[in-house]
Subunit: 305 residues, 2 copies
Protein backbone atom coordinates (compact mmCIF):
# COMPACT_ATOMS: atom_id res chain seq x y z
CA UNK A 1 0.00 0.00 0.00
CA UNK A 2 1.33 3.41 -1.05
CA UNK A 3 0.17 6.60 0.70
CA UNK A 4 0.63 10.24 -0.30
CA UNK A 5 0.09 13.20 2.03
CA UNK A 6 0.15 16.72 0.57
CA UNK A 7 0.58 19.71 2.85
CA UNK A 8 2.35 17.23 5.12
CA UNK A 9 4.28 19.91 6.99
CA UNK A 10 1.19 21.99 7.70
CA UNK A 11 -0.60 22.00 11.03
CA UNK A 12 -3.12 19.34 10.07
CA UNK A 13 -0.52 17.43 8.04
CA UNK A 14 1.93 17.10 10.92
CA UNK A 15 -0.86 15.84 13.14
CA UNK A 16 -1.89 13.26 10.55
CA UNK A 17 1.64 12.10 9.82
CA UNK A 18 2.29 11.50 13.51
CA UNK A 19 -0.46 8.89 13.54
CA UNK A 20 -0.19 7.51 10.02
CA UNK A 21 2.17 4.56 10.56
CA UNK A 22 0.20 3.31 13.53
CA UNK A 23 -3.06 3.65 11.57
CA UNK A 24 -1.73 1.98 8.42
CA UNK A 25 0.90 -0.58 9.48
CA UNK A 26 0.42 -2.23 6.09
CA UNK A 27 1.77 0.86 4.29
CA UNK A 28 4.71 -0.16 2.12
CA UNK A 29 5.55 3.40 1.17
CA UNK A 30 4.53 6.76 2.58
CA UNK A 31 5.38 9.91 0.64
CA UNK A 32 5.03 13.28 2.35
CA UNK A 33 5.10 16.40 0.24
CA UNK A 34 5.13 20.10 0.99
CA UNK A 35 6.92 23.18 -0.26
CA UNK A 36 9.42 22.77 2.58
CA UNK A 37 9.76 20.77 5.80
CA UNK A 38 10.52 22.58 9.01
CA UNK A 39 10.64 19.48 11.17
CA UNK A 40 12.53 16.22 10.77
CA UNK A 41 10.58 13.83 8.55
CA UNK A 42 8.77 10.82 9.94
CA UNK A 43 11.06 7.78 10.22
CA UNK A 44 10.24 5.47 7.34
CA UNK A 45 8.49 8.09 5.25
CA UNK A 46 9.96 9.80 2.21
CA UNK A 47 9.70 13.55 1.93
CA UNK A 48 9.52 15.38 -1.39
CA UNK A 49 9.75 19.17 -1.46
CA UNK A 50 8.15 21.08 -4.28
CA UNK A 51 5.28 23.15 -5.57
CA UNK A 52 2.25 21.13 -6.66
CA UNK A 53 1.27 24.04 -8.90
CA UNK A 54 4.23 23.12 -11.13
CA UNK A 55 2.85 20.60 -13.59
CA UNK A 56 6.16 18.75 -13.91
CA UNK A 57 6.53 18.33 -10.17
CA UNK A 58 3.01 16.98 -9.78
CA UNK A 59 3.43 14.54 -12.69
CA UNK A 60 6.73 13.22 -11.32
CA UNK A 61 5.30 12.88 -7.82
CA UNK A 62 2.40 10.77 -9.07
CA UNK A 63 4.36 8.84 -11.67
CA UNK A 64 3.71 5.66 -9.70
CA UNK A 65 0.14 5.55 -8.46
CA UNK A 66 -0.96 5.75 -4.82
CA UNK A 67 -3.61 3.66 -3.11
CA UNK A 68 -4.48 6.46 -0.71
CA UNK A 69 -4.03 10.21 -1.06
CA UNK A 70 -4.65 12.78 1.66
CA UNK A 71 -4.88 16.17 -0.02
CA UNK A 72 -4.39 18.71 2.75
CA UNK A 73 -2.29 21.37 0.97
CA UNK A 74 -4.01 24.69 0.49
CA UNK A 75 -3.50 28.42 0.71
CA UNK A 76 -5.35 29.75 3.80
CA UNK A 77 -8.59 31.61 3.14
CA UNK A 78 -7.66 35.14 4.16
CA UNK A 79 -4.43 34.94 2.17
CA UNK A 80 -6.20 33.42 -0.88
CA UNK A 81 -8.71 36.28 -0.83
CA UNK A 82 -5.85 38.79 -1.15
CA UNK A 83 -3.66 36.78 -3.50
CA UNK A 84 -6.17 35.69 -6.11
CA UNK A 85 -3.73 34.19 -8.61
CA UNK A 86 -1.94 32.14 -5.95
CA UNK A 87 -5.28 30.99 -4.56
CA UNK A 88 -6.58 29.98 -7.98
CA UNK A 89 -3.47 27.88 -8.58
CA UNK A 90 -3.18 26.33 -5.10
CA UNK A 91 -6.82 25.88 -4.17
CA UNK A 92 -8.41 25.06 -7.52
CA UNK A 93 -5.98 24.02 -10.25
CA UNK A 94 -3.81 21.88 -7.94
CA UNK A 95 -6.62 19.76 -6.47
CA UNK A 96 -8.17 19.27 -9.93
CA UNK A 97 -4.85 18.16 -11.42
CA UNK A 98 -3.92 16.05 -8.40
CA UNK A 99 -7.24 14.21 -8.33
CA UNK A 100 -7.35 13.59 -12.08
CA UNK A 101 -3.74 12.45 -12.20
CA UNK A 102 -4.13 10.17 -9.15
CA UNK A 103 -7.19 8.63 -10.82
CA UNK A 104 -5.37 8.16 -14.11
CA UNK A 105 -2.36 6.46 -12.42
CA UNK A 106 -4.40 4.26 -10.09
CA UNK A 107 -8.11 4.11 -10.98
CA UNK A 108 -10.37 3.85 -7.95
CA UNK A 109 -7.73 4.91 -5.42
CA UNK A 110 -8.90 6.45 -2.16
CA UNK A 111 -8.70 10.25 -2.10
CA UNK A 112 -9.40 12.12 1.13
CA UNK A 113 -9.83 15.86 0.63
CA UNK A 114 -9.66 18.45 3.39
CA UNK A 115 -12.53 20.71 2.38
CA UNK A 116 -13.89 23.52 4.52
CA UNK A 117 -17.05 24.86 6.06
CA UNK A 118 -16.27 27.96 3.96
CA UNK A 119 -18.30 26.19 1.22
CA UNK A 120 -21.53 27.16 2.99
CA UNK A 121 -21.36 30.94 2.94
CA UNK A 122 -24.03 32.83 4.85
CA UNK A 123 -26.15 30.29 6.74
CA UNK A 124 -28.65 32.83 8.10
CA UNK A 125 -28.93 30.94 11.38
CA UNK A 126 -30.42 27.77 9.86
CA UNK A 127 -29.25 24.43 11.26
CA UNK A 128 -26.80 22.80 8.86
CA UNK A 129 -27.83 19.42 7.42
CA UNK A 130 -26.59 17.40 4.43
CA UNK A 131 -29.25 19.26 2.35
CA UNK A 132 -27.98 22.73 3.23
CA UNK A 133 -27.31 24.61 -0.03
CA UNK A 134 -23.83 26.01 -0.51
CA UNK A 135 -23.20 29.64 -1.51
CA UNK A 136 -19.56 30.39 -0.65
CA UNK A 137 -18.81 34.03 0.03
CA UNK A 138 -15.04 33.79 -0.09
CA UNK A 139 -12.93 32.66 -3.05
CA UNK A 140 -11.40 30.01 -0.77
CA UNK A 141 -14.82 28.47 -0.17
CA UNK A 142 -15.72 28.72 -3.87
CA UNK A 143 -12.58 26.76 -4.78
CA UNK A 144 -13.23 24.14 -2.09
CA UNK A 145 -16.79 23.67 -3.32
CA UNK A 146 -15.67 23.39 -6.95
CA UNK A 147 -13.16 20.72 -5.93
CA UNK A 148 -15.82 18.81 -3.99
CA UNK A 149 -18.02 18.74 -7.09
CA UNK A 150 -15.20 17.44 -9.27
CA UNK A 151 -14.34 14.75 -6.69
CA UNK A 152 -17.98 13.65 -6.39
CA UNK A 153 -18.11 13.30 -10.16
CA UNK A 154 -14.88 11.28 -10.26
CA UNK A 155 -16.35 9.08 -7.55
CA UNK A 156 -19.61 8.63 -9.45
CA UNK A 157 -17.57 7.41 -12.42
CA UNK A 158 -15.49 5.11 -10.14
CA UNK A 159 -12.36 6.97 -11.24
CA UNK A 160 -11.54 7.79 -7.62
CA UNK A 161 -12.96 6.67 -4.29
CA UNK A 162 -13.14 10.24 -3.08
CA UNK A 163 -14.44 11.76 0.12
CA UNK A 164 -14.46 15.44 1.07
CA UNK A 165 -14.43 16.43 4.75
CA UNK A 166 -15.67 19.91 5.58
CA UNK A 167 -13.43 21.12 8.38
CA UNK A 168 -13.94 24.22 10.52
CA UNK A 169 -10.91 26.22 11.67
CA UNK A 170 -8.87 23.54 13.50
CA UNK A 171 -7.55 24.46 16.95
CA UNK A 172 -5.12 25.32 18.32
CA UNK A 173 -2.81 26.27 15.47
CA UNK A 174 0.60 27.61 16.50
CA UNK A 175 0.35 31.31 17.29
CA UNK A 176 2.98 31.96 14.61
CA UNK A 177 0.84 30.69 11.69
CA UNK A 178 -0.68 33.35 9.51
CA UNK A 179 -3.09 33.74 6.63
CA UNK A 180 -6.05 32.23 8.48
CA UNK A 181 -9.01 34.50 9.16
CA UNK A 182 -9.90 32.07 11.95
CA UNK A 183 -6.57 32.67 13.73
CA UNK A 184 -8.41 34.17 16.72
CA UNK A 185 -10.01 30.77 17.36
CA UNK A 186 -6.54 29.37 18.10
CA UNK A 187 -5.06 32.43 19.78
CA UNK A 188 -7.75 32.35 22.44
CA UNK A 189 -6.42 28.97 23.61
CA UNK A 190 -2.80 30.07 23.73
CA UNK A 191 -3.41 33.41 25.42
CA UNK A 192 -5.83 32.18 28.08
CA UNK A 193 -3.64 29.14 28.86
CA UNK A 194 -0.63 31.44 29.26
CA UNK A 195 -2.59 33.83 31.48
CA UNK A 196 -2.08 36.65 29.00
CA UNK A 197 -4.60 39.39 28.21
CA UNK A 198 -6.29 38.96 24.82
CA UNK A 199 -8.30 41.28 22.59
CA UNK A 200 -10.67 38.82 20.98
CA UNK A 201 -11.88 40.27 17.63
CA UNK A 202 -15.44 38.92 17.96
CA UNK A 203 -18.06 39.40 20.70
CA UNK A 204 -18.24 36.95 23.63
CA UNK A 205 -21.45 35.30 22.46
CA UNK A 206 -20.20 34.66 18.91
CA UNK A 207 -20.84 31.01 18.15
CA UNK A 208 -18.16 29.17 16.21
CA UNK A 209 -17.71 25.55 15.17
CA UNK A 210 -14.84 23.95 17.10
CA UNK A 211 -12.68 20.94 16.36
CA UNK A 212 -9.31 19.93 17.76
CA UNK A 213 -6.53 18.64 15.54
CA UNK A 214 -6.85 15.32 17.36
CA UNK A 215 -10.48 15.01 16.26
CA UNK A 216 -9.70 16.24 12.73
CA UNK A 217 -6.93 13.67 12.31
CA UNK A 218 -9.26 10.94 13.58
CA UNK A 219 -11.81 12.04 10.96
CA UNK A 220 -9.20 11.90 8.18
CA UNK A 221 -8.10 8.41 9.22
CA UNK A 222 -11.68 7.19 9.56
CA UNK A 223 -12.51 8.58 6.12
CA UNK A 224 -9.49 6.84 4.65
CA UNK A 225 -10.45 3.49 6.16
CA UNK A 226 -14.17 3.62 5.38
CA UNK A 227 -13.28 3.14 1.72
CA UNK A 228 -16.01 3.69 -0.81
CA UNK A 229 -18.80 3.09 1.68
CA UNK A 230 -19.06 6.51 3.28
CA UNK A 231 -20.77 9.47 1.64
CA UNK A 232 -18.88 11.58 -0.88
CA UNK A 233 -19.34 14.67 1.29
CA UNK A 234 -19.01 14.53 5.05
CA UNK A 235 -19.58 17.31 7.54
CA UNK A 236 -17.68 15.93 10.54
CA UNK A 237 -19.30 16.52 13.94
CA UNK A 238 -18.08 19.72 15.61
CA UNK A 239 -18.77 21.51 18.87
CA UNK A 240 -21.08 24.52 18.51
CA UNK A 241 -20.18 26.96 21.26
CA UNK A 242 -19.51 30.61 21.99
CA UNK A 243 -15.97 31.95 22.16
CA UNK A 244 -16.67 32.87 25.78
CA UNK A 245 -17.64 29.29 26.67
CA UNK A 246 -14.44 28.05 25.05
CA UNK A 247 -12.36 30.65 26.89
CA UNK A 248 -13.92 29.50 30.17
CA UNK A 249 -13.06 25.86 29.41
CA UNK A 250 -9.45 26.83 28.73
CA UNK A 251 -9.40 28.89 31.95
CA UNK A 252 -10.66 25.88 33.93
CA UNK A 253 -7.94 23.69 32.46
CA UNK A 254 -5.24 26.29 33.09
CA UNK A 255 -6.50 27.05 36.58
CA UNK A 256 -6.45 30.81 35.98
CA UNK A 257 -9.09 33.32 34.91
CA UNK A 258 -9.49 34.41 31.31
CA UNK A 259 -8.51 38.05 30.74
CA UNK A 260 -10.32 38.91 27.53
CA UNK A 261 -11.49 42.17 26.00
CA UNK A 262 -14.19 41.48 23.43
CA UNK A 263 -13.99 43.55 20.27
CA UNK A 264 -16.21 43.32 17.17
CA UNK A 265 -14.61 42.83 13.79
CA UNK A 266 -17.92 42.43 11.97
CA UNK A 267 -16.32 40.67 9.00
CA UNK A 268 -14.75 38.01 11.22
CA UNK A 269 -17.90 37.65 13.32
CA UNK A 270 -20.03 37.15 10.23
CA UNK A 271 -17.75 34.52 8.68
CA UNK A 272 -16.63 32.56 11.74
CA UNK A 273 -18.72 33.72 14.70
CA UNK A 274 -22.29 33.40 13.39
CA UNK A 275 -22.39 29.64 12.91
CA UNK A 276 -25.76 27.94 13.46
CA UNK A 277 -26.22 24.52 15.07
CA UNK A 278 -25.13 21.43 13.13
CA UNK A 279 -27.20 18.31 12.59
CA UNK A 280 -24.36 15.77 12.32
CA UNK A 281 -26.57 12.67 12.36
CA UNK A 282 -25.29 11.41 9.00
CA UNK A 283 -21.63 11.72 9.96
CA UNK A 284 -22.28 10.13 13.35
CA UNK A 285 -24.05 7.21 11.66
CA UNK A 286 -20.95 6.76 9.50
CA UNK A 287 -18.77 6.53 12.62
CA UNK A 288 -17.28 10.03 12.59
CA UNK A 289 -16.79 11.63 16.03
CA UNK A 290 -16.02 15.17 17.14
CA UNK A 291 -14.52 16.32 20.43
CA UNK A 292 -16.68 15.05 23.30
CA UNK A 293 -17.12 18.40 25.07
CA UNK A 294 -15.41 21.76 25.60
CA UNK A 295 -13.12 20.44 28.34
CA UNK A 296 -11.96 17.63 26.04
CA UNK A 297 -11.52 20.18 23.26
CA UNK A 298 -9.42 22.46 25.47
CA UNK A 299 -7.24 19.58 26.62
CA UNK A 300 -6.74 18.29 23.04
CA UNK A 301 -6.14 21.75 21.61
CA UNK A 302 -3.37 22.49 24.09
CA UNK A 303 -1.83 19.00 24.11
CA UNK A 304 0.10 19.42 20.87
CA UNK A 305 -1.56 16.28 19.45
Amino acid sequence: MRILVTGADGFLGRGLVARLMEAFPEARQVVLTDRAFGEPPLPGAGTVCGDLAEAGFLADLLETGFDLVFHLASLPGALAEKEQELGHAANLLVPLALARTAAARKPGCRFVFASSIAVYGDLAGRTVTPDTPTAPDLTYGAHKRMTEILLSDLRRRCALSAVSLRFPGIVARPASESGHGSAFMSLIFHRVAAGEAYDCPVPADSHCWWMSRRAAVAALLHAARAGGDAADLVQPPVLHASVDAVAQAVARLAGRPADIRWVNDEGLRRIFGAMPPLDAALALSLGFRGDADLDTLAQAALSGD
Copy 2:
Protein backbone atom coordinates in the same frame (compact mmCIF):
# COMPACT_ATOMS: atom_id res chain seq x y z
CA MET B 1 -19.60 48.78 -26.95
CA ARG B 2 -17.79 45.53 -27.85
CA ILE B 3 -19.63 42.19 -27.73
CA LEU B 4 -18.25 38.65 -27.93
CA VAL B 5 -20.33 35.54 -28.59
CA THR B 6 -18.73 32.11 -28.19
CA GLY B 7 -20.34 29.05 -29.73
CA ALA B 8 -21.80 31.58 -32.18
CA ASP B 9 -22.42 28.96 -34.87
CA GLY B 10 -24.24 26.60 -32.52
CA PHE B 11 -28.02 26.28 -32.37
CA LEU B 12 -28.46 28.78 -29.55
CA GLY B 13 -25.64 30.99 -30.89
CA ARG B 14 -27.20 31.37 -34.34
CA GLY B 15 -30.51 32.31 -32.74
CA LEU B 16 -28.83 34.93 -30.55
CA VAL B 17 -26.73 36.39 -33.33
CA ALA B 18 -29.83 36.87 -35.50
CA ARG B 19 -31.24 39.26 -32.91
CA LEU B 20 -28.07 40.82 -31.57
CA MET B 21 -27.76 43.92 -33.76
CA GLU B 22 -31.38 44.85 -33.22
CA ALA B 23 -31.01 44.35 -29.45
CA PHE B 24 -27.73 46.28 -29.20
CA PRO B 25 -27.75 48.96 -31.88
CA GLU B 26 -25.05 50.74 -29.87
CA ALA B 27 -22.61 47.88 -30.47
CA ARG B 28 -19.47 49.22 -32.09
CA GLN B 29 -17.95 45.80 -32.64
CA VAL B 30 -19.41 42.29 -32.50
CA VAL B 31 -17.05 39.30 -32.55
CA LEU B 32 -18.47 35.85 -33.17
CA THR B 33 -16.30 32.86 -32.47
CA ASP B 34 -16.68 29.13 -33.02
CA ARG B 35 -14.54 26.28 -34.26
CA ALA B 36 -16.03 26.76 -37.72
CA PHE B 37 -18.93 28.62 -39.31
CA GLY B 38 -21.34 26.70 -41.50
CA GLU B 39 -23.48 29.69 -42.39
CA PRO B 40 -22.60 33.12 -43.74
CA PRO B 41 -21.62 35.46 -40.91
CA LEU B 42 -23.88 38.24 -39.73
CA PRO B 43 -23.37 41.44 -41.74
CA GLY B 44 -21.30 43.81 -39.64
CA ALA B 45 -19.98 41.15 -37.27
CA GLY B 46 -16.48 39.72 -37.34
CA THR B 47 -16.06 35.97 -37.19
CA VAL B 48 -13.02 34.31 -35.69
CA CYS B 49 -12.55 30.55 -36.07
CA GLY B 50 -10.56 28.65 -33.48
CA ASP B 51 -10.48 26.41 -30.44
CA LEU B 52 -10.97 28.25 -27.14
CA ALA B 53 -9.16 25.38 -25.43
CA GLU B 54 -5.94 26.63 -27.06
CA ALA B 55 -4.53 29.17 -24.63
CA GLY B 56 -2.95 31.28 -27.35
CA PHE B 57 -6.18 31.54 -29.32
CA LEU B 58 -8.16 32.58 -26.26
CA ALA B 59 -5.57 35.18 -25.23
CA ASP B 60 -5.48 36.71 -28.73
CA LEU B 61 -9.27 36.75 -28.96
CA LEU B 62 -9.56 38.69 -25.71
CA GLU B 63 -6.54 40.91 -26.22
CA THR B 64 -8.83 43.92 -26.33
CA GLY B 65 -11.51 43.67 -23.67
CA PHE B 66 -15.23 43.22 -24.29
CA ASP B 67 -18.08 45.00 -22.54
CA LEU B 68 -20.39 42.03 -22.96
CA VAL B 69 -19.58 38.34 -23.39
CA PHE B 70 -22.09 35.60 -24.16
CA HIS B 71 -20.41 32.28 -23.39
CA LEU B 72 -22.49 29.66 -25.18
CA ALA B 73 -19.78 27.27 -26.42
CA SER B 74 -19.81 23.85 -24.83
CA LEU B 75 -19.51 20.16 -25.58
CA PRO B 76 -22.96 18.54 -25.32
CA GLY B 77 -23.64 16.46 -22.22
CA ALA B 78 -23.87 12.98 -23.68
CA LEU B 79 -20.69 13.51 -25.69
CA ALA B 80 -18.85 15.05 -22.70
CA GLU B 81 -19.75 12.00 -20.61
CA LYS B 82 -18.01 9.72 -23.14
CA GLU B 83 -15.12 12.03 -24.00
CA GLN B 84 -13.97 13.06 -20.54
CA GLU B 85 -10.78 14.87 -21.58
CA LEU B 86 -12.56 16.91 -24.25
CA GLY B 87 -15.35 17.72 -21.79
CA HIS B 88 -12.90 18.78 -19.08
CA ALA B 89 -11.20 21.16 -21.51
CA ALA B 90 -14.31 22.55 -23.22
CA ASN B 91 -16.77 22.66 -20.33
CA LEU B 92 -14.49 23.50 -17.39
CA LEU B 93 -11.07 24.87 -18.33
CA VAL B 94 -12.37 27.06 -21.19
CA PRO B 95 -15.09 28.88 -19.20
CA LEU B 96 -12.69 29.41 -16.27
CA ALA B 97 -10.00 30.85 -18.55
CA LEU B 98 -12.47 32.89 -20.59
CA ALA B 99 -14.12 34.45 -17.55
CA ARG B 100 -10.86 35.23 -15.78
CA THR B 101 -9.28 36.68 -18.91
CA ALA B 102 -12.37 38.74 -19.77
CA ALA B 103 -12.31 40.13 -16.22
CA ALA B 104 -8.61 40.91 -16.40
CA ARG B 105 -8.96 42.76 -19.73
CA LYS B 106 -12.12 44.68 -18.81
CA PRO B 107 -12.93 44.57 -15.09
CA GLY B 108 -16.65 44.50 -14.37
CA CYS B 109 -17.69 43.53 -17.90
CA ARG B 110 -21.01 41.75 -18.35
CA PHE B 111 -20.66 37.97 -18.75
CA VAL B 112 -23.73 35.90 -19.62
CA PHE B 113 -23.15 32.16 -19.21
CA ALA B 114 -25.36 29.45 -20.72
CA SER B 115 -25.52 27.03 -17.80
CA SER B 116 -27.80 24.01 -17.67
CA ILE B 117 -30.46 22.35 -15.57
CA ALA B 118 -27.99 19.44 -15.49
CA VAL B 119 -26.55 21.17 -12.40
CA TYR B 120 -29.45 19.86 -10.32
CA GLY B 121 -29.04 16.11 -10.64
CA ASP B 122 -31.77 13.92 -9.17
CA LEU B 123 -34.57 16.19 -7.97
CA ALA B 124 -36.69 13.41 -6.47
CA GLY B 125 -39.90 15.10 -7.56
CA ARG B 126 -39.42 18.20 -5.40
CA THR B 127 -40.44 21.56 -6.87
CA VAL B 128 -37.36 23.49 -7.93
CA THR B 129 -36.78 26.84 -6.22
CA PRO B 130 -33.72 29.10 -5.91
CA ASP B 131 -32.88 27.13 -2.72
CA THR B 132 -32.83 23.73 -4.42
CA PRO B 133 -29.46 22.09 -3.67
CA THR B 134 -27.41 21.00 -6.66
CA ALA B 135 -25.96 17.49 -6.98
CA PRO B 136 -25.09 16.99 -10.65
CA ASP B 137 -25.08 13.38 -11.80
CA LEU B 138 -23.37 13.93 -15.15
CA THR B 139 -19.89 15.36 -15.68
CA TYR B 140 -21.47 18.00 -17.93
CA GLY B 141 -23.62 19.24 -15.03
CA ALA B 142 -20.66 19.11 -12.62
CA HIS B 143 -18.63 21.35 -14.93
CA LYS B 144 -21.53 23.77 -15.40
CA ARG B 145 -22.00 24.02 -11.63
CA MET B 146 -18.29 24.58 -11.03
CA THR B 147 -18.32 27.38 -13.60
CA GLU B 148 -21.39 28.97 -11.98
CA ILE B 149 -19.55 29.03 -8.63
CA LEU B 150 -16.48 30.66 -10.13
CA LEU B 151 -18.63 33.26 -11.90
CA SER B 152 -20.57 34.06 -8.73
CA ASP B 153 -17.28 34.58 -6.93
CA LEU B 154 -15.93 36.85 -9.70
CA ARG B 155 -19.20 38.80 -9.47
CA ARG B 156 -18.93 39.09 -5.68
CA ARG B 157 -15.48 40.62 -6.15
CA CYS B 158 -16.79 42.95 -8.89
CA ALA B 159 -14.31 41.40 -11.30
CA LEU B 160 -17.15 40.46 -13.66
CA SER B 161 -20.83 41.30 -13.78
CA ALA B 162 -21.70 37.67 -14.34
CA VAL B 163 -25.02 35.90 -14.65
CA SER B 164 -25.59 32.18 -15.22
CA LEU B 165 -28.81 31.04 -16.91
CA ARG B 166 -29.82 27.42 -16.34
CA PHE B 167 -31.26 26.27 -19.65
CA PRO B 168 -33.15 23.05 -20.28
CA GLY B 169 -32.71 21.25 -23.62
CA ILE B 170 -33.71 23.98 -26.12
CA VAL B 171 -36.17 23.00 -28.85
CA ALA B 172 -36.26 22.31 -31.67
CA ARG B 173 -32.62 21.67 -32.55
CA PRO B 174 -31.96 20.56 -36.12
CA ALA B 175 -32.49 16.81 -36.45
CA SER B 176 -28.90 16.52 -37.65
CA GLU B 177 -27.30 17.74 -34.41
CA SER B 178 -25.81 15.05 -32.21
CA GLY B 179 -24.24 14.64 -28.80
CA HIS B 180 -27.29 15.81 -26.88
CA GLY B 181 -29.02 13.27 -24.63
CA SER B 182 -32.09 15.48 -24.94
CA ALA B 183 -32.18 15.06 -28.76
CA PHE B 184 -35.54 13.29 -28.49
CA MET B 185 -37.10 16.51 -27.15
CA SER B 186 -36.35 18.15 -30.50
CA LEU B 187 -36.97 15.14 -32.76
CA ILE B 188 -40.53 14.86 -31.50
CA PHE B 189 -41.26 18.29 -33.01
CA HIS B 190 -39.73 17.49 -36.39
CA ARG B 191 -41.26 14.04 -36.75
CA VAL B 192 -44.77 14.94 -35.67
CA ALA B 193 -44.77 18.11 -37.80
CA ALA B 194 -43.64 16.06 -40.82
CA GLY B 195 -46.31 13.42 -40.16
CA GLU B 196 -43.62 10.76 -39.66
CA ALA B 197 -43.80 7.87 -37.22
CA TYR B 198 -41.51 8.31 -34.19
CA ASP B 199 -40.21 5.95 -31.54
CA CYS B 200 -39.99 8.30 -28.56
CA PRO B 201 -37.40 6.91 -26.09
CA VAL B 202 -39.33 7.93 -22.96
CA PRO B 203 -42.91 7.12 -21.84
CA ALA B 204 -45.79 9.39 -22.85
CA ASP B 205 -46.28 10.83 -19.38
CA SER B 206 -42.60 11.74 -18.89
CA HIS B 207 -42.47 15.35 -17.79
CA CYS B 208 -39.71 17.51 -19.25
CA TRP B 209 -38.86 21.19 -19.03
CA TRP B 210 -39.48 22.92 -22.35
CA MET B 211 -38.12 26.13 -23.80
CA SER B 212 -37.99 27.34 -27.39
CA ARG B 213 -34.88 28.95 -28.86
CA ARG B 214 -36.92 32.15 -29.20
CA ALA B 215 -37.52 32.21 -25.42
CA ALA B 216 -33.92 31.22 -24.65
CA VAL B 217 -32.55 34.03 -26.82
CA ALA B 218 -34.92 36.49 -25.15
CA ALA B 219 -33.58 35.32 -21.76
CA LEU B 220 -29.96 35.81 -22.89
CA LEU B 221 -30.71 39.33 -24.15
CA HIS B 222 -32.65 40.23 -21.02
CA ALA B 223 -29.81 38.94 -18.82
CA ALA B 224 -27.34 40.99 -20.83
CA ARG B 225 -29.38 44.16 -20.45
CA ALA B 226 -30.27 43.76 -16.77
CA GLY B 227 -26.65 44.51 -15.94
CA GLY B 228 -25.50 43.84 -12.44
CA ASP B 229 -28.98 44.09 -10.95
CA ALA B 230 -30.25 40.60 -11.63
CA ALA B 231 -29.34 37.58 -9.52
CA ASP B 232 -26.07 35.78 -10.21
CA LEU B 233 -27.97 32.54 -10.92
CA VAL B 234 -31.23 32.53 -12.84
CA GLN B 235 -33.48 29.60 -13.56
CA PRO B 236 -35.46 30.99 -16.51
CA PRO B 237 -39.17 30.11 -16.58
CA VAL B 238 -39.89 26.94 -18.57
CA LEU B 239 -42.97 24.96 -19.47
CA HIS B 240 -43.41 21.78 -17.39
CA ALA B 241 -45.30 19.29 -19.53
CA SER B 242 -45.38 15.67 -20.65
CA VAL B 243 -43.89 14.61 -23.97
CA ASP B 244 -47.37 13.47 -24.99
CA ALA B 245 -48.87 16.92 -24.31
CA VAL B 246 -46.12 18.50 -26.40
CA ALA B 247 -46.67 15.99 -29.22
CA GLN B 248 -50.37 16.85 -29.21
CA ALA B 249 -49.61 20.57 -29.43
CA VAL B 250 -47.36 19.94 -32.43
CA ALA B 251 -50.06 17.76 -34.02
CA ARG B 252 -52.62 20.53 -33.56
CA LEU B 253 -50.31 23.02 -35.25
CA ALA B 254 -49.47 20.61 -38.08
CA GLY B 255 -53.10 19.60 -38.54
CA ARG B 256 -52.26 15.89 -38.54
CA PRO B 257 -52.26 13.23 -35.81
CA ALA B 258 -49.10 12.29 -33.92
CA ASP B 259 -47.88 8.76 -34.74
CA ILE B 260 -45.69 7.92 -31.74
CA ARG B 261 -44.58 4.64 -30.20
CA TRP B 262 -43.51 5.25 -26.61
CA VAL B 263 -40.41 3.34 -25.53
CA ASN B 264 -38.63 3.54 -22.17
CA ASP B 265 -34.92 4.31 -22.08
CA GLU B 266 -34.78 4.53 -18.30
CA GLY B 267 -31.56 6.55 -18.32
CA LEU B 268 -33.05 9.23 -20.58
CA ARG B 269 -36.34 9.21 -18.67
CA ARG B 270 -34.54 9.70 -15.36
CA ILE B 271 -32.36 12.58 -16.59
CA PHE B 272 -34.78 14.48 -18.85
CA GLY B 273 -38.26 13.02 -18.32
CA ALA B 274 -38.65 13.09 -14.54
CA MET B 275 -38.55 16.85 -14.03
CA PRO B 276 -40.63 18.24 -11.15
CA PRO B 277 -42.55 21.53 -11.27
CA LEU B 278 -40.57 24.78 -11.25
CA ASP B 279 -41.23 27.75 -8.99
CA ALA B 280 -39.95 30.52 -11.29
CA ALA B 281 -41.20 33.43 -9.17
CA LEU B 282 -37.73 34.93 -8.78
CA ALA B 283 -36.98 34.89 -12.51
CA LEU B 284 -40.42 36.25 -13.33
CA SER B 285 -39.92 39.09 -10.84
CA LEU B 286 -36.66 39.90 -12.66
CA GLY B 287 -38.53 40.16 -15.95
CA PHE B 288 -37.59 36.78 -17.47
CA ARG B 289 -40.34 35.09 -19.51
CA GLY B 290 -40.72 31.55 -20.87
CA ASP B 291 -42.94 30.39 -23.72
CA ALA B 292 -46.54 31.34 -22.95
CA ASP B 293 -48.07 27.88 -23.49
CA LEU B 294 -47.55 24.66 -25.44
CA ASP B 295 -49.11 26.02 -28.63
CA THR B 296 -46.77 29.02 -28.53
CA LEU B 297 -43.86 26.66 -27.83
CA ALA B 298 -44.75 24.45 -30.81
CA GLN B 299 -45.05 27.43 -33.11
CA ALA B 300 -41.75 28.95 -31.93
CA ALA B 301 -39.92 25.62 -32.02
CA LEU B 302 -40.89 24.98 -35.63
CA SER B 303 -40.51 28.57 -36.84
CA GLY B 304 -36.75 28.47 -37.19
CA ASP B 305 -36.46 31.51 -34.88
